[in-house]
């Protein structure tokens, strides 16, 4: 500020006033070090605060924008007869996941579970370490998915709101796949890849079937454990001309 000239002026006005101001201008090396350290701490605090804002708010803004754009493209392709289960064009997303219990509308599903994919605010189906079996293949197996719990769209944030018996609906170009949740594992090790097995034995199922598995991290804001939800295919509905959703999504 304009303090430089002010203090200089003070020095000339009287000896009594100049004493404290002179002392303030030449603090000892320890005082200086403490002052610099303090400013660095304040700076670090601000940067960390900004990082929290970035993680929990800004990444959602960016991801929702990206997801919206990609979802529009898939809907557009479907409307114009491009893509779909026959061609298995998996580049832009294969369909939409609807979980009414999570109250987050539709989630685009794309191939892969790398950060690059999931950071766009979509759910990804596993290609590694266990390859997911896609529902439109018609084969028995496990349709395993992952999405972010916080930040980057936080598409599975409310996964803990899902209860046994809740519907999970997967929408493709011409079919609605209606799953029903039959088991939940609220906490498991992040190395527990067995939850992705084609027959997920930990859920109590022993025979091959059409399963769906949702995975995300838990508790919220951390990545210590994984939260798992298992569902089983109940029925498949054909999409009509108006794309009327199945009754599970209408209530």
């Amino acid at each position: 500020m304009a303090a430089t000239t002010d203090t200089e002026h003070e020095e000339h006005t009287g000896a009594a006033a100049s004493r404290p101001s002179a002392a303030r201008r030449r603090p000892g090396p320890i005082a200086m070090a403490v002052s610099v350290f303090g400013e660095l701490l304040i700076t670090a605090g601000l940067v960390l605060g900004l990082f929290v804002a970035y993680s929990l708010w800004w990444t959602n803004v960016v991801a929702d924008r990206a997801a919206g754009k990609q979802a529009d493209k898939v809907r557009d392709d479907w409307a114009h007869g491009r893509g779909g289960p026959g061609a298995l064009d998996t580049k832009n997303g294969i369909g939409f996941l609807h979980v009414p219990a999570m109250k987050n509308g539709e989630v685009l599903v794309e191939k892969g579970t790398s950060n690059k994919i999931l950071n766009d605010g979509v759910a990804g189906y596993y290609t590694d370490p266990v390859k997911a079996v896609l529902p439109m293949s018609g084969k028995t197996g496990n349709f395993s998915l992952a999405a972010h719990r916080d930040g980057h769209g936080a598409k599975f944030h409310n996964i803990d709101k899902i209860k046994k018996g809740d519907p999970i609906v997967f929408e493709t170009k011409d079919k609605w796949y209606v799953y029903k949740v039959y088991d939940i594992l609220p906490e498991t090790s992040r190395f527990n890849v067995k939850v992705l097995s084609q027959v997920p034995k930990e859920s109590g199922r022993k025979k091959p079937g059409h399963y769906i598995t949702l995975t995300t991290c838990t508790p919220v804001y951390t990545s210590t454990y994984r939260y798992i939800v298992w569902g089983e295919l109940e029925r498949v509905e054909k999409v009509n001309a108006d794309r009327t959703p199945p009754k599970e999504l209408r209530s």
Partner: protein
């Protein structure tokens, strides 16, 4: 004067920056604001996206690693 070049023994690095900005108080305030915006932009656009995968907050998949 001080132990470090940006410290003259009175009001730290932010004070040093403030005193080296040109113009009167309003101009200085405006430039400061622009600097803050620039720093936030660099952090959000480059630093945080780089740092995020290195921090253990956002892994959601089960894997073998």
């Amino acid at each position: 004067m001080g132990l470090v070049p940006w410290y003259d023994g009175r009001d730290g690095m932010y004070g040093w920056i403030w005193r080296h900005l040109p113009g009167n108080t309003w101009v200085k305030a405006l430039i400061s604001l622009a600097l803050v915006v620039a720093v936030v932009y660099v952090l959000f656009q480059y630093v945080f996206p780089w740092a995020e995968p290195l921090l253990p907050f956002n892994d959601v998949t089960v894997d073998n690693q």
